[in-house]
């Protein structure tokens, strides 16, 4: 292993600019002559728009334009769309309601943008927006997914009777019923997977520019996938043809899914830039982000797990209602279906599974993929069931899991997935050892002596990453292919540019992708630049989400590097007057096998361009190759997380006292970066379990709409995390990589809740287990005991 190659914890190349304040985020961009955009947003969950009073505002200082849904409709632009078509079990397609960027006559959630104000300065736009009043006729609203389908629930969209978007199912109902009929025992639980607000620290922003001379649009945008944004804005919305729209996602301050989607605000910015013939800038305030960025999770689930008399799992039945909010966001339909139910087999050999999912509209912010997207929800179902079952059966939760692990690979689950490799016992064993699982009873006694309730919980999760084989997802309804592209450009001086369709918003691609190239070409990492996030530079790409950029993005680079190497060998053969078949490339040197003839990579690069040693008839000059890589399978990162908590019965406060994660991500390019991804994911997962409550009141107001009420995880909430790995290389891609970005957020909630319920001695507590929720449970227990 070289100091900068695969497997080395190389310091990140991007960090110099970030630690010196020289990052370039969208909000940092100022275009000459730019105007500022501010939105008037709906204050109602559901209401008819009767009249917009904007006359006074439009005459206020600096105001350039006030644009409403009517103006937008006159522009004849298309609706925002959800790009994954799900069919209900009766064969009917999902009920996708139109989603105009600005509504004409009705608002459907608090925070929906209604009027766009463009002014010279940001404060003028804001002042004018505050001077606009809107007459509404309030309509009844529904926010709870469990109530959305009730016959008397308010109807949110005409196209979706009973607010039902689809009623979907996966698995074999008959086989599952038969399994349950044979069961010696069944564990049944009701779960709520709490709604979360993503809260990337950089809020969303857009700067849009229109050049009337060339009819060219440019959009700087906080995007995880600028090419997909361009495709949707062109093909579906029709703001500009694809070749006249350039989307640039510069440095992006975290995404976690929320910056995948195509939102109304950037679309309005583009349209406004053309309307007012000025560059238009929009920067979301944090309080807007709470009601404008797609939320995550929000499932209500009933799940049952059937066992035989020996504790082997026979079958699993799951019924989920998924809240998709007021409109179908870009990939929302796929999250509670193919990203969820396909993972319900967990790490276990489950012969029969049947899952039903109803997706519903409510008067809430749209819900879409958030770190883990469907897989945390699946893991929560499976791992809560395992823990509760072990307690019910009186067996060690670790042993019940071990008994049911999938042990032979490849393994076909009853829910589509074909696990290619793994060693679940290895990660379990290592995690138990690192967490000193055996010593827990002792620690529990010691804590009890201090008046504290101590609990331990496991989560043996699996996820499907490397998203995804295009043909497979196409057959499941995806509107796009999920390959990735790469181009490797070798310059005459031997330096290299790597163009990738992946996008980095914290993942460190500029470093890890360069490590791969350094490893393969034997050149210093400083001689490699990674280019991403600009549709004018990179031809196409699918972007970064779903822990796909290592497994898919780097595989594309690897494939392009194969082609570069092949071409370079031809050049080397001409240089050394040898046969191409005899050229060996190693450590940045081309040699002729069995001789001491050698040329460096730099010499080959130069000669590829000066082209003096071969004729045009023999070889094309230049050294630049591109590749598209379409995965042959998903990848299956898996592992075991162990959480230990201590609860103070006086206050209800839960402290995570130990957290241990052992993950199998396959081969690892940069262990330092991978550990960082795991840390971040775990803290988001613990945040979901213990802190982050997204609360709507009955009237559809978001009660937790600021950092005063939405409890973000802080440094003081956590102990140092213990993070380690096991390795079974992924056989499905050339680098053996599985993906690491979401593991923590997927595994942690179940581990934490298993620990909390262990400490409390009751399963009857929902996420987030805030001090109040825990204290309430303890009070209930005390009352019950007193009554007995």
């Amino acid at each position: 292993m070289s100091a900068t190659g695969i497997g080395a914890s190389v310091r990140r190349k991007e960090d110099f600019r970030f630690v010196t304040g020289r990052g370039q985020y969208t909000a940092d961009i100022a275009r000459p002559g730019q105007a500022h955009l501010y939105f008037v947003r709906s204050t109602h969950a559901h209401a008819k728009i009767l009249r917009i009073h904007a006359g006074h505002a439009s005459r206020m200082p600096g105001v350039i334009a006030v644009l409403t849904g009517e103006d937008f409709a006159a522009g004849k632009l298309g609706s925002l769309v959800c790009g994954w078509l799900i069919h209900s079990k009766d064969g009917t397609p999902m009920k996708m309601a139109p989603h105009p960027a600005l509504p004409v006559d009705r608002v459907r959630h608090v925070g929906e943008p209604v009027v766009a104000v463009i002014a010279e300065r940001a404060d003028q736009a804001r002042d004018a927006a505050e001077a606009i009043s809107i007459d509404y006729e309030e309509l009844p609203s529904v926010v709870d997914p469990a109530k959305a389908q009730a016959p008397d629930a308010p109807q949110i969209h005409e196209v979706a009777p009973n607010n039902t978007i689809y009623q979907w199912q996966l698995g074999d109902p008959a086989a599952t019923e038969a399994a349950f009929a044979r069961a010696a025992s069944v564990t049944a639980i009701d779960l709520v997977n709490n709604r979360l607000i993503p809260n990337a620290m950089e809020t969303r922003a857009a700067v849009a520019e229109y050049e009337p001379g060339t009819e060219q649009f440019t959009l700087w945008n906080t995007s995880q996938n600028p090419h997909v944004a361009r495709l949707v804005l062109s093909a579906f919305v029709g703001i500009a043809p694809e070749h006249r729209l350039r989307v640039i996602a510069p440095d992006v301050g975290g995404g976690f899914g929320s910056k995948i989607f195509i939102y109304p605000e950037e679309l309005v910015a583009l349209w406004a830039a053309k309307t007012v013939r000025r560059p238009v800038k929009w920067t979301s305030e944090r309080s807007e982000a709470f009601v404008a960025d797609a939320h995550g999770r929000d499932h209500v689930t009933r799940a049952e797990l059937a066992f035989d008399a020996e504790g082997k799992i026979l079958g699993l039945k799951v019924k989920t209602i998924a809240n998709l909010g007021a409109f179908m966001s870009t990939f929302s339909s796929s999250v509670p279906t193919y990203l969820y139910a396909t993972l319900l087999s967990g790490q276990y050999d489950i012969p029969a599974i049947f899952c039903e999912v109803d997706a519903v509209y409510t008067n809430t912010v749209p819900v879409d993929a958030y770190r883990g997207a469907g897989r945390p929800e699946a893991t929560f179902v499976v791992e809560r069931l395992m823990e509760v079952s072990a307690r019910r059966l009186g067996v060690d939760p670790a042993e019940l899991r071990r008994k049911n692990f999938v042990k032979n690979f490849p393994h076909q689950t009853p829910v589509i997935m074909n696990y290619d490799a793994g060693d679940y016992a290895a990660s379990l064993d290592k995690a138990l050892a690192l967490a000193d699982y055996a010593g827990f009873p002792q620690r529990k006694r010691e804590a009890a002596g201090r008046g504290k309730l101590r609990g331990i919980g496991l989560s043996a999760y699996i996820e499907a990453c490397g998203i995804a084989p295009s043909q497979a997802v196409g057959s499941l309804g995806a509107g796009v292919g999920l390959w990735e592209s790469a181009e490797v450009r070798v310059n005459p001086t031997g330096t290299v540019e790597v163009l990738t369709g992946s996008h980095s918003h914290g993942q460190g691609h500029e470093t890890t992708f360069a490590q791969l190239v350094s490893h393969r070409l034997g050149i210093p990492i400083d001689n490699i630049a990674v280019v991403h996030g600009d549709t004018d530079k990179v031809q196409f790409g699918m972007g970064t989400y779903g822990s796909r950029s290592g497994a898919v993005g780097m595989s594309a680079i690897s494939k392009a590097l194969d082609k570069v190497e092949t071409k370079a060998k031809k050049v080397a053969a001409h240089l050394m007057e040898a046969s191409e078949a005899d050229i060996v490339f190693e450590d940045g040197k081309f040699t002729v096998a069995g001789t001491d003839k050698a040329v460096t990579f730099g010499e080959v690069a130069l000669n590829a361009y000066i082209a003096h040693k071969f004729s045009g008839a023999e070889l094309e000059p230049g050294l630049k190759e591109g590749a598209f890589y379409d995965p042959v399978n998903f990848t299956f990162p898996a592992g075991c997380h162990v959480c230990e908590v201590e609860i103070d019965p006086e206050t209800g406060r839960t402290d995570v006292v130990n957290f241990t994660a052992v993950d199998d991500f396959g081969n690892v390019i940069n262990p330092m970066i991978v550990e960082g991804q795991v840390h971040g994911g775990i803290v988001q997962g613990i945040g979901q379990a213990l802190m982050e409550a997204c609360v709507y009141d009955e009237s559809g107001q978001l009660v937790t709409g600021s950092y005063n009420d939405y409890r973000m995880p802080r440094a003081g909430d956590f102990p140092p995390l213990v993070v380690d790995t096991t390795v079974t290389p992924c056989p499905s891609n050339p680098l053996g990589i599985k993906g690491c970005g979401e593991a923590g957020a997927i595994a942690a909630p179940a581990a934490v809740m298993n620990a909390v319920t262990d400490a409390l001695g009751t399963e009857d507590i929902a996420m987030p287990a805030t001090p109040l929720a825990v204290w309430t449970v303890l009070q209930r227990q005390a009352h019950r005991e007193a009554a007995e």
Partner: protein, 166 residues
């Protein structure tokens, strides 16, 4: 429009501004020092932390006119040319940042922590001191490690620095 004058990263600046202008807006929009970030509108995230007369403040919670006559240090003034400050170096060495958005505020807060509490900072102290700084990427683990290492490195470092960045 009132005029404000202050010294920012060692350079005197004067401007006529709207009295409502926040210090963070003055830095970002008037001076184009965009390393200081805005992550919230309730003074809770700490992305905007700068030093005013040597002390850490949230520049979103202060009017520019309140900094009239002050010495202001932003993240852009912490390194000496291309030589990173030991705290910046520590963040890079310990992978104390991912997307980098919270990082300027974290580093400015860390420098203030060392100024007040000295170079030996334990895990618990650092975590408590980060009460006013949010990060959504790192899970804080490596930020805490970076600050402890940076504080130690500052004690061993004898490079002369601009007063507020010591």
């Amino acid at each position: 429009m009132p005029a404000v004058s202050m010294t920012v990263n060692g350079t005197p600046v004067t401007a006529d501004i709207d009295p409502r202008t926040l210090l963070v807006q003055f830095l970002r929009e008037h001076l184009r020092l965009t390393g200081t970030h805005v992550g919230c509108d309730t003074s809770q995230c700490g992305a905007c932390v700068v030093h005013v007369n040597g002390e850490a403040v949230k520049s979103c919670a202060m009017l520019a006119v309140q900094a009239d006559g002050a010495e202001v240090l932003t993240i852009e003034g912490v390194a000496q040319g291309d030589t990173l400050h030991p705290m910046q170096e520590a963040f890079r060495d310990n992978h104390g940042l991912q997307c980098g958005f919270c990082t300027p505020g974290m580093i400015m807060t860390a420098l203030d922590m060392v100024r007040r509490l000295g170079p030996v900072l334990d895990d618990h102290t650092i975590r408590e001191e980060l009460e006013g700084n949010l990060c959504r990427c790192t899970g804080y683990h490596n930020i805490v490690k970076s600050i402890a290492a940076g504080a130690r490195a500052m004690a061993a470092d004898d490079t002369p620095r601009r007063a507020a960045a010591e």
